[in-house]
Symmetry: C2
DNA sequence: AAAATAATTAGGTATTGACCTAACTATTGG
DNA sequence: CCAATAGTTAGGTCAATACCTAATTATTTT
């Protein structure tokens, strides 16, 4: 009943880190090179590259290298998948609340009727 | 410029695990006790409790104990926060694409004009 | 060709995460 | 009261994560 694809794991995991979310925020504004992306962070380059790798594995970032420069771009699909999952849960939740509302309303009507 | 609240960390982290997402999916349909929630998983109770704890720390689940039974309920706020963050990134992304579209269009017009 | 730049690889440490078993503490039903 | 039930605590293992430094490769710039 519940779609539980491993891709969601990787996407959520990638987004669970503030550095990686900041990278996504940067790339949402447009492509950037590794060095540009890394600049704001007080972190050694290899550490940053590891974060990038997690983002790539999660499918959130695609990269390509030209000369000695690697350029990164955001891939929106995993964000959409995550959003879809969230929406599904919120739909269930609100649906249930609506049912509760209806129940309470009918109880109230019964009350008034006597 | 980028809101980077720690709460998002905890929420994303909580959702990065399939067991925990399944718990959220279950609770979206309505409250349940710890044992009920744990039943589907092939996992020792203490392990499951640890997952629950992560969900509580992420603010996704609230629990209360009556007698020997602990009942769990979903808290939708963190889901909303996560959804909001996602929407913000997707908005930036599509906005940028739109700008690109306009740019390409104007280039095309220039072309036609000569 | 030498020096600077961009990224990568190798390898190490310390913390956290995901599981387990075993033993324990309520609470509740018979 | 006693046994079953629901959950908890303590403590241990093993793998993964998040960082680091140092050394290396490949490409540009001067």
């Amino acid at each position: 009943m519940s779609l539980n694809p491993a891709p969601l794991d990787d996407a959520f995991r990638a987004l669970a880190d503030p550095t990686r979310r900041a990278v996504v925020e940067a790339l949402a504004r447009g492509p950037a090179t590794v060095s540009e992306l890394a600049r704001p962070f007080d972190m050694a380059m290899p550490s940053f590259l590891q974060h990038l790798k997690v983002l790539e594995e999660g499918g959130l970032v695609a990269t390509s290298k030209k000369g000695r420069v690697r350029t990164c771009a955001l891939r929106p699909e995993p964000l959409a998948a995550v959003g879809g999952w969230l929406d599904a849960q919120r739909a269930l939740w609100t649906q249930r609340l609506d049912q509760l509302d209806r129940l309470l309303l009918s109880l109230k009507n019964d009350e008034e009727r006597r």
